[in-house]
């Protein structure tokens, strides 16, 4: 077996209208859970790659939006991603016009081609996914054992498996426009 490298791990949008995993495209602005899509999160041109822009009225209203992103072990038959931790590094955040939080979907780790729902589904970005109670916020301290404070413990993701994460964005009624960005960091152990 060869070791997993960073490029073996994919962040993917979700396809809320699919009926199986990894068969349908996903789209920014409508990544509302359900199934993993075939669309990899565009991190080369990240603008509006998951959430669309917060409009002026949405900003003034303090709108809260939700979006789903999948983490996939894209190795066909290699090592598993062990002790996976997902978190939002404070150092990766730019812009002050919104707050962010992240949670793990209650469905857990699943095969990427499953025909049963791989994540909760919402039909609007302003609707919270049901049953998710634990949200972590950005932190400047790397989550470490045993508490992994402000980190999400995702367990083990074997080859051709994935797990869904939910992002919650809150507009802050800021007085000036801004470009905002954040990073999802996933850490894990793998064999060599």
């Amino acid at each position: 077996m060869t070791a997993i490298v960073a490029t073996d791990v994919l962040f993917k949008l979700s396809a809320p209208n699919a009926n199986a995993g990894n068969v349908q495209a996903g789209y920014a602005g409508t990544s509302w859970g359900g199934y993993i899509s075939t669309t990899v999160l565009n991190t080369s041109l990240p603008l509006d790659n998951l959430f669309t822009d917060i409009t002026g009225p949405e900003n003034a209203a303090g709108q809260v939006d939700y979006a789903c992103v999948f983490v996939q072990n894209n190795t066909a038959g290699g090592n598993s991603m062990s002790n996976v931790i997902a978190w939002l590094p404070q150092a990766g955040i730019t812009g002050t016009g919104s707050n962010l939080a992240m949670a793990v979907d209650t469905t857990g780790v699943v095969g990427i081609n499953n025909t049963t729902p791989q994540a909760l589904v919402i039909n609007s970005s302003i609707i919270a996914p049901t049953g998710i109670n634990t949200w972590v916020v950005p932190t400047s301290t790397t989550p470490t054992s045993p508490l992994y404070t402000n980190g999400l413990q995702l367990g083990t993701i074997a080859p051709t498996q994935c797990i869904a994460l939910w992002l919650r964005r809150t507009a802050l009624n800021s007085s000036s426009p801004s470009l905002s960005s954040f990073q999802i960091e996933v850490m894990f152990s793998t064999g060599s």
């Binding site: 959430f51 822009d53 426009p177 793998t190």
Partner: protein, 77 residues
């Protein structure tokens, strides 16, 4: 008795050499990996544009006052 020992010792050394190699194949050395995904969007704000219109409400110009021989009214301003 001396011959017995010289026959046993070489085979024991061979077993000791082989065993560590088998252990490396069965127990991979773990290492940590970090993957980062970047997400970005604009935060817009409402802009309110105002246009001010103003005008004065004042007295009529003196040239507009009509004076007739029958009725003359003087005004002071």
């Amino acid at each position: 008795m001396a011959g017995f020992y010289s026959l046993v010792a070489p085979s024991l050394r061979a077993l000791k050499i082989l065993w560590p190699n088998q252990q490396r194949q069965g127990n991979p050395i773990p290492h940590n990996v970090t993957v980062i995904g970047t997400i970005e969007y604009n935060v817009q704000t409402n802009i309110i544009a105002t246009a001010i219109m103003e005008w004065n409400i004042g007295m009529p110009l003196s040239s507009q006052i009509r004076q007739t021989s029958a009725d003359r009214t003087d005004f002071a301003y």
